[in-house]
Amino acid sequence: MPEGTALAPCLLGCVLATLLPKVLPLSLLHGDSLPPLLRSWLSFVPVAVMAALVGPDVLFYQGQFNVGTSNLFLMVALPSLVVAWWSKNYFLTIAFGLGMVIAARATGLY
């Protein structure tokens, strides 16, 4: 494998490119004395980042943008939102979603 020699340094660079973003803000920011506007901005990061992650997960089914009924994850996600809203129960919502996916595949619907 001729490229084997280049793999280790490239990997090392990528480890740094991963760990520095994770570690730097947490260890360097004085989290309890940030300016109010920044704190307010950061308070919206959780809801924004979760929505940014889950949106494409649901609408790109098997790598393709799909808003039709053939998108199993979309068909499961919509009732899951209702279950999450009503039950306010974290595990129940996950179990409901997984159960629907398993059932849809076991019955050959998807």
Binding site: M1, G4, A6, L7, A8, P9, C10, L11, G13, C14, V15, A17, T18, L19, P21, K22, V23, L24, P25, L26, S27, L29, H30, G31, D32, L37, R39, S40, W41, L42, S43, F44, V45, P46, V47, A48, V49, M50, A51, A52, L53, V54, G55, P56, D57, F60, F73, S80, L81, A84, K88, Y90, F91, T93, I94, G97, L98, V101, I102, R105
Partner: protein
């Protein structure tokens, strides 16, 4: 995430990481298989899961390495997909401000989309910071990730299909279950819908590495702008307490 208060800190950590582990084992497995297919030795694939502990970053690395991309462009792509960690790490900082720096550093190493989401949700719901719970959750999740990778890298041919078990949906199910309680006000619902739409649109336009971080920055900024427009600085429970005292002061 209503956790029975009687659970020990260790059990709380496992309770918190259980759905994450359920998702990490099959995704780690998929990474192990993909890495070996892309000419990465199995041992190094496992090392990546130990050292990087970053799903999307590792997948970007493996697929770019497989097509012979040069080292600099691989590193740049990995950095771009990991920019969202900068935001998550900064957003978690106010909650962990009372901890010494070396503990915050170690907790940062265990930060992923999933551990961030469960910890921040617990903090928002009034959970009192407990180091055991945080570390047990992070490291049991990483153990699942590394184990999945090892099985995929060393014996990927043993498991042919995880789809019948629905495990390819596990992490999506978890994010949905965490996203709904985030929507504590109409403002948060607007931010969630807008950010999800923007992230989908950016990915549809081919920005599959930038979309998460960029959509998050724009979405959070929209939230602040709308909040300022409403003229209400006080953002209720979603803003962490200004200063966490070390001593016992909860009965004041």
């Amino acid at each position: 995430m209503s956790v029975p208060v009687c659970l020990s800190p260790l059990a709380q950590g496992l309770h918190r990481s259980l759905p994450i582990m359920l998702g990490y084992i099959p995704v780690g497995f998929a990474f192990g298989v993909l890495a070996v297919k892309n000419n990465i030795p199995p041992g190094l694939a496992v090392a990546m899961s130990v050292l990087m502990f970053s799903g999307s970053g590792q997948f970007v690395f493996a697929s770019m390495w497989g097509v012979g991309a040069n080292a600099l462009s691989i590193m740049a792509a990995v950095l771009i997909v990991n920019l969202r960690y900068l935001l998550q790490s900064a957003a978690e900082a106010p909650w962990l401000a009372a901890l010494p720096r070396w503990q915050r550093f170690l907790l940062g190493l265990g930060l992923t989309d999933e551990t961030f989401a469960v910890h921040v949700t617990a903090f928002q719901q009034g959970w009192r910071c407990n180091l055991t719970t945080l570390f047990v959750c992070n490291h049991s999740a990483q153990l699942a990730w590394v184990s999945g990778t090892a099985i995929g890298a060393f014996c990927g041919e043993l498991v042919t299909d995880v789809q019948p078990l629905g495990l390819d949906y596990a992490l999506t199910a978890m994010f949905l279950a965490l996203l709904v309680p985030q929507c504590v006000s109409r403002l948060h619902v607007i931010v969630a819908l807008f950010t999800a739409f923007l992230s989908i649109a950016l990915r549809g336009l081919g920005m599959s590495q930038w979309n998460i971080a960029l959509a998050t920055v724009v979405g959070a900024s929209l939230g602040v702008c709308l909040l300022l427009l409403k003229g209400r600085q006080d953002n209720r429970s979603s803003v962490p307490p200004r200063r966490v005292e070390h001593g016992e002061n909860s009965h004041a």
